[in-house]
């Protein structure tokens, strides 16, 4: 037993040295004042909450992340369901297709959307050819819609995989039992399949929502003049003015929000678990 625990130590060391320690260094920065002699200060945090537009941007970012998460669930659930319960062959191929986009960099994918979505671009010309739109102008690129599309594309595989995992664990005989007891397909889905796969949905939602809050590449490249989100503000602090202290403070405010939302979701997850267990006992 002890030996097995020791096997964890390389991973724990890497996690500690390259994630936990830097996190505390950034926490330290977030309480430092700018200038030659750095002193302890709360100014960075006060500045964030005293300027209305930072809060406005944060709220905008949260709304955007919620939209992305919901779209991901809507797209991913049917796909995961079909992969887990309907088809037998080709699952590996589908999984591979979902994972392939991970092999290209996020930046490259964002730029691909730039080519694909622009007025007179690939998608516009295609829609024009098949007669869905009359001009080759779509007006999607450089709006927040474009950023949301790209974010959904980047994050929905997490959702598919987590939902697929929970559906795969779901015993087919339970579904059969529900059917044989006279439940209509919709009722089976609502009362049996959906509750039992909700841990997958919630895990997927966390995996999509959290990185979405901190995203800055897609909104900046595709979002146009309204592409500002809290992630781009942090990026500009670090890269434009070397404002590490304020940048770190915003990052920690964001982290606090993430932890709160995660806490909320895991609470949800636990109640789901107890609820799904209680009828069985």
């Amino acid at each position: 037993m002890k030996k097995k625990v020791l096997l964890m130590s390389p991973a724990m060391f890497i996690l500690f040295a390259f994630a936990i320690v830097p996190l505390f260094i950034m926490l330290y920065y977030s309480f430092m004042s700018d200038g030659a002699v750095a002193k302890f200060t709360l100014d960075n945090y006060i500045n964030f909450f005293s300027k209305g537009f930072y809060l406005k941007l944060t709220w905008k970012t949260i709304k955007m992340s919620i939209v992305v998460t919901l779209i991901c669930i809507v797209i991913a659930y049917p796909m995961a369901y079909i992969m887990a319960k309907v088809i037998n062959k080709g699952k590996n191929l589908l999984l591979l297709l979902i994972i392939i986009p991970f092999w290209t960099s996020q930046l490259v994918r964002a730029y691909s959307w730039l080519v694909f979505l622009r007025d007179g671009g690939v998608l516009a010309q295609f829609l024009n050819k098949i007669g869905l739109i009359t001009t080759t102008d779509m007006g999607i690129l450089f709006t927040s819609k474009a950023a949301i599309i790209a974010l959904v594309h980047i994050f929905f595989p997490y959702m598919v995989i987590t939902i697929y995992m929970s559906l795969e664990k779901l015993d087919n005989s339970i579904i059969d039992a529900s059917k044989s007891l006279g439940a209509k397909p919709i009722e089976t889905f609502r009362r049996v399949i959906l509750p039992l796969s909700s841990p997958g949905i919630i895990t997927g939602a966390i995996l999509v929502f959290v990185p979405c809050l901190g995203s800055f590449v897609e909104p900046r490249i595709l979002g146009g003049v309204n592409g500002s989100v809290i992630g781009t503000v942090i990026e500009d602090q670090f890269f434009e003015i070397y404002g590490w202290n304020f940048g770190a403070a915003i990052a920690f405010i964001l982290l606090a929000m993430v932890l709160l939302s995660m806490g909320g979701m895991s609470l949800l997850l636990n109640t789901e678990k107890t609820r799904s267990k209680s009828p069985a006992s």
């Binding site: 700018d34 200038g35 300027k51 537009f53 930072y54 406005k56 941007l57 905008k60 699952k91 590996n92 999984l95 591979l96 994972i99 991970f102 092999w103 730039l114 622009r118 007025d119 007179g120 671009g121 450089f142 995989i161 795969e168 900046r220 490249i221 146009g224 003049v225 592409g227 500002s228 781009t232 503000v233 500009d236 602090q237 434009e240 003015i241 070397y242 404002g243 304020f246």
Partner: protein, 367 residues
């Protein structure tokens, strides 16, 4: 079960691949730094130059010429940002590096901290040919002494597509012109934004008096844009796809796009535009001070400057080098004294001002 195995093996493969990539990347870096520290040839004097990569001084022909002329060896160390150069100078660069290339954003700090030698301009034969305008800029001076030599300059002004715009543009107010709504590309950069709005409002761009008015002016401009651009590549694509007709642009990129046959016109508007300069500085206690002077003198010579601008380099400070070009090139690339004198050169700003300007720009973008 087999699918979970497949996923596991795919994840493992991704991990292995990314590890390999990381390792090869590290290997590449090591090789580079080894080149810099190669100690095999001790016979020749070594001049250590810090510059951007592919930025004039590290051209193979230039290096060979200078090395033969003065029987020495030039070693380039590259910087990725001005901040990095400042850090290099502060942490062991003094007494080790010879020549460095700071700009206005760090130059006053470097001079103040005593990281640069005072420049004796009588040792530079070509100093007299530098345009007068550069003698008036304050960033390379302290107590009337000169600490860095201007090398090349450029501007951030207005460029437009002559196929889409059928008038001669000569005013910065084109960026606020409703006629081009949706076809304008403003730059996503707090310094460029604040300075451009200040020029349009007739305020002093280096020291604007009314930041609220600037904020309003920028908010007013915002809905007219197709998008804000940040990298030169973004601009090129927008321009090539005819998604934009007019916008802020750098002189250097506009010139090379024009050379490549794009229908681009670049103007320094009558109200003025943003200018920048790169300076050569000789590092405090440089090991080869005399050779450093020779190097800087060669860098500002007509010979080098003319050759580089013809090859697509930025605007020369040497008036002789500019005069050697034909009228049309000078006018098209805005290299002449007339354009130069319209520019407001980016001034040095302390952290507080930078923070304030950046916050103003964030607020405009968040609207």
């Amino acid at each position: 079960m087999s699918i979970r195995k497949t996923i596991k093996s795919i994840i493992a493969a991704i991990l292995v691949l990314s590890m390999m990539l990381a390792l090869t990347a590290c290997g590449g870096n090591n090789q580079n730094s080894n080149q810099g520290n190669n100690d095999s040839e001790d016979a020749k004097t070594r001049l250590v130059v810090v510059n951007w990569k592919d930025y004039g001084s590290d051209d193979q022909k230039v290096i060979e010429y200078f090395e033969q002329q003065y029987n020495c060896e030039i070693i380039h160390e590259y910087m990725a940002s001005e901040e990095e150069l400042l850090t290099k100078l502060r942490t062991g660069g003094v007494g080790k590096l010879d020549v460095v290339l700071p700009n206005a954003s760090i130059l006053p700090v470097a001079i103040q901290e005593g990281l640069l030698e005072e420049v004796d301009t009588s040792k530079l034969e070509n100093y007299q040919y530098i345009f007068d305008k550069f003698m008036t800029l304050p960033e390379n001076k302290k107590d009337d002494k000169i600490y860095a030599v201007p090398w090349v300059w450029g501007s951030t002004a207005i460029a437009y597509n002559s196929e889409l715009v059928d008038e001669e543009i000569d005013s910065i107010h084109v960026l606020w012109d409703e006629k081009y709504k949706g076809m304008i590309a403003f730059r996503d950069d707090f310094n460029d934004a604040v300075m451009t709005a200040a020029i349009a409002l007739g305020q002093d761009p280096s020291n604007p008096s009314d930041l609220d008015a600037i904020k309003q002016k920028l908010i007013e401009q915002k809905p007219l844009n197709r998008t804000y651009w940040k990298t030169g590549d973004e601009w090129s694509k927008l321009f090539a796809n005819k998604q934009i007709a007019v916008g802020m642009m750098w002189s250097g990129q506009a010139a090379s796009m024009k050379q490549a046959g794009e229908p681009i016109e670049y103007v320094v508007p009558k109200e003025g535009a943003i200018g920048w300069v790169d300076y050569w500085g000789i590092v405090k206690d440089a090991p080869n001070k005399e050779l450093a002077y020779k190097f800087v003198d060669y860098m500002i010579s007509k010979e080098f400057q003319e050759q580089w601008v013809r090859a697509g380099g930025p605007a020369p400070v040497n008036s002789e080098a500019v005069n050697a070009l034909d009228e049309k090139t000078i006018e098209e690339m805005n290299l002449g004294e007339e354009s130069l004198n319209k520019l407001y050169f980016i001034a040095y700003h302390g952290e507080d001002v930078k923070k304030q300007w950046n916050e103003l720009w964030q607020e405009v973008k968040a609207q």
